[in-house]
């Protein structure tokens, strides 16, 4: 295990290094002036330019520029946003919790709904229930998420008027910012309209979570179903049945434990898709997260912001990926090889 851990961590360090090189080169690949792209300053006079060239080591060779870039990232000087002229790291710190909140609820929902449905579908694959679950999963798997979100808004917000279509919470409620996670902030805050605010925030959360959870849920259903069907064919299941265990016991003691093990790995794999889909969901539901901010940055040609967004999102994805791999190897000794 220790050896495996070291290899994984080494790989992660390498991947992060490669990522930093990619992010570093973006500053030069983007159209426009390099000094502007690096600093995020809009107007630069000649005097300031000379200063910045010195600060970014632009007069030195590329390796030294890269080292300077790394030390800036480590110190938290990520440059300014073209659009707001605010420090990028500060902006990201405010936006990231919103995305994480949405994504984690969606991931949770996809597990709660997806795993049982997958098991049911695998238990009786040829029955009406099993077939309809597979069919629905197939359709959900093919849904263009932005259209699905619009459809739900059209139905629940415009036609029925049950649910709000945009934002995290109604404008009537003022929630003091502490962690950035809305539900936690509301519970924490010292306000007398806590219950109403919580209810309102939940309503706002409902549609985006369902939309975002659709794809991971269907992937989960398909994955668990295939894994279960595969495990159900194994000899140890036959042995267990021959021992005299009933179906429920076999399912619980032998089936689930083997079939659900790879699910841990799915968390990591799903997370990357989830973040991508979260970008689209945030655009549709005007959710003030990092995805919408990143897409707005592209509209505004806000190159420093795109660079910072890539860095943050990829680091997050890589870390979650690596953690789930390690967790999976921790539970499954077979995965430690290779």
């Amino acid at each position: 295990m220790t050896r495996y851990l070291f290899r994984r961590l080494f790989l992660m360090a390498f991947v992060l290094l490669a990522l930093s090189i990619l992010a570093f080169s973006l500053g030069y690949l983007f159209p426009g002036d390099v000094v502007q792209n690096l600093s995020g300053l809009r107007q630069i006079d000649e005097n300031q330019r000379q200063q910045l060239i010195g600060y970014y080591h632009l007069d030195q060779n590329i390796l030294q520029q890269y080292m300077a870039f790394l030390s800036r990232i480590a110190q938290g000087d990520w440059g300014l946003s073209f659009a707001s002229q605010q420090p990028l790291l500060q902006e990201i710190k405010l936006l990231l919790p919103a995305t994480l909140e949405l994504a984690s609820y969606a991931l949770l929902l996809s597990f709660i709904v997806g795993i049982p449905l997958g098991i049911v579908a695998a238990f009786k694959p040829d029955s009406l229930v099993g077939k309809s679950i597979s069919a629905i999963a197939m359709v959900g798997y093919s849904l263009p998420i932005f259209w699905w979100g619009l459809l739900l808004i059209m139905f629940f917000s415009l036609a029925l008027g049950w649910l709000p279509s945009a934002g995290r919470i109604g404008v009537l409620y003022e929630i003091p910012h502490s962690s950035g996670f809305m539900l936690y902030d509301i519970l924490q805050a010292n306000i007398n309209y806590r219950r109403e605010a919580l209810y309102n925030a939940m309503l706002h959360l409902l549609l985006p979570t369902i939309v975002l959870a659709t794809f991971p849920t269907t992937v989960m259903v398909r994955f668990v179903r295939d894994a279960m069907l595969n495990v159900w064919e194994q000899n140890y299941i036959k042995t267990a049945r021959a021992k005299g265990l009933n179906r429920g016991q076999v399912l619980y003691r032998h089936g689930l434990r083997n079939a659900l093990l790879p699910v841990i790995r799915q968390i990591g794999l799903q997370f990357s898709t989830l973040i991508t889909l979260a970008m689209l969901t945030e655009v549709i539901f005007s959710w003030p997260g990092i995805g919408r901010w990143l897409i707005d940055s592209i509209y505004q040609r806000n190159y420093p912001a795109i660079q910072a967004g890539l860095l943050v999102i990829s680091t997050m994805v890589i870390t979650v990926n690596m953690l789930t791999e390690i967790l999976h190897a921790f539970f499954n000794p077979l995965a430690r090889r290779g």
């Binding site: 159209p31 849904l143 619009l150």
Partner: protein, 297 residues
């Protein structure tokens, strides 16, 4: 697990015929194939199909409702948009953009992936290990994010989107092809062929490629559905096909501000995307099952 094998009839048909036989048995897969082929034909022949010019703006017929509405016209089955352009014609034309360009994208990515994957799969040592780690990085960055960043560098437009998605799809192709080649290289018949004096090129073209094409097809179908969704998503965000082009995702975002007035102009292009992706996925699933069954027999 070993199963009883009954050899009731002599089965000397070619692998492709066996595959087709297994594929044919699945109704859902056949439905998918019919849809897929019709989308393909429409995307090829779109200019000859359209009942009206998709870019012609008829001033008298702005925002005509679909023909099932009392106010609709039978000449315009899906109605017209806010500039008086026929929606049906635009959707037919859009097939070549969304569906056709997805096919081109995947074909390009497959070709590049085959070359790079073969190079990676046949090489050993440090070169291959460094290559792998770079691939791992590219695989962890979400494909849509990668595409968005590439578009941010080279600028928006349908052709640029194609390039971006091609590059974003490439890592998974290279990875899959490399693994498939790796698996093949371990087979005994490869070693036997090598002992006969075959070089790398012979092994690759005569043994490996014929044996991995099934995996390639499955990979390609999965990639086509991703490509359709990505092209539509980028079009929807405004990074893909630009204003007059009737790409499906762009059509949805165009009619977004008319969502109260004409909900069908948002609903129908989305339904088309769904159908196109569904057809590809059905074919992919059917192929997967058919290959599994063929291998078992």
């Amino acid at each position: 697990m070993s199963k009883f094998r009954l050899y009731l009839e002599e089965n000397n048909r070619s692998p492709v015929k066996q595959l087709w036989r297994e594929f044919k048995r699945q109704h859902s897969a056949m439905t998918g194939l019919v849809l897929f082929v019709s989308f393909f034909v429409i995307s090829l022949l779109a200019p000859f199909f359209t009942p009206h010019d998709p870019y012609l703006q008829v001033d008298d017929l702005l925002l005509l409702p679909p023909s099932w509405n009392a106010a609709g016209l039978v000449q315009y089955p899906f109605g017209t948009d806010d500039l008086g352009r026929d929606l049906l014609s635009r959707m037919i034309k859009g097939t070549s953009y969304t569906f056709g360009f997805a096919l081109i994208t995947v074909a390009g990515a497959l070709l590049m992936g085959l070359v790079l994957g073969a190079l990676a799969g046949m090489s050993k040592g440090v070169k291959s290990s460094v290559f792998n780690h770079i691939l791992d990085l590219a695989l962890t960055i979400p494909s849509l994010l990668l595409a968005i960043i590439i578009v941010a560098i080279i600028g928006p437009g349908l052709l640029n989107t194609t390039w971006a998605i091609m590059l974003a799809l490439l890592p998974q192709f290279v990875h899959g092809i490399r693994n498939a080649i790796d698996e093949e290289l371990k087979q005994d018949y490869v070693i036997a062929y090598r002992l006969d004096g075959a070089n790398n090129w012979h092994v690759l073209t005569r043994l490996i490629l014929p044996n991995i094409w099934e995996k390639l097809t499955i990979m390609a179908t999965m990639a086509i559905s991703t490509a359709i969704l990505d092209i539509a998503a980028l079009g929807f965000l405004g990074f893909g096909a630009q204003a007059p082009l009737s790409e499906w995702g762009a059509m949805i975002s165009d009619s977004l501000d008319l969502i109260y007035l004409a909900p069908s102009s948002v609903a129908i292009p989305g339904l088309l995307i769904l159908t196109a992706v569904l057809s590809v996925n059905l074919v992919g699933d059917g192929l997967k099952t058919a290959i599994l069954k063929r291998r078992q027999n």
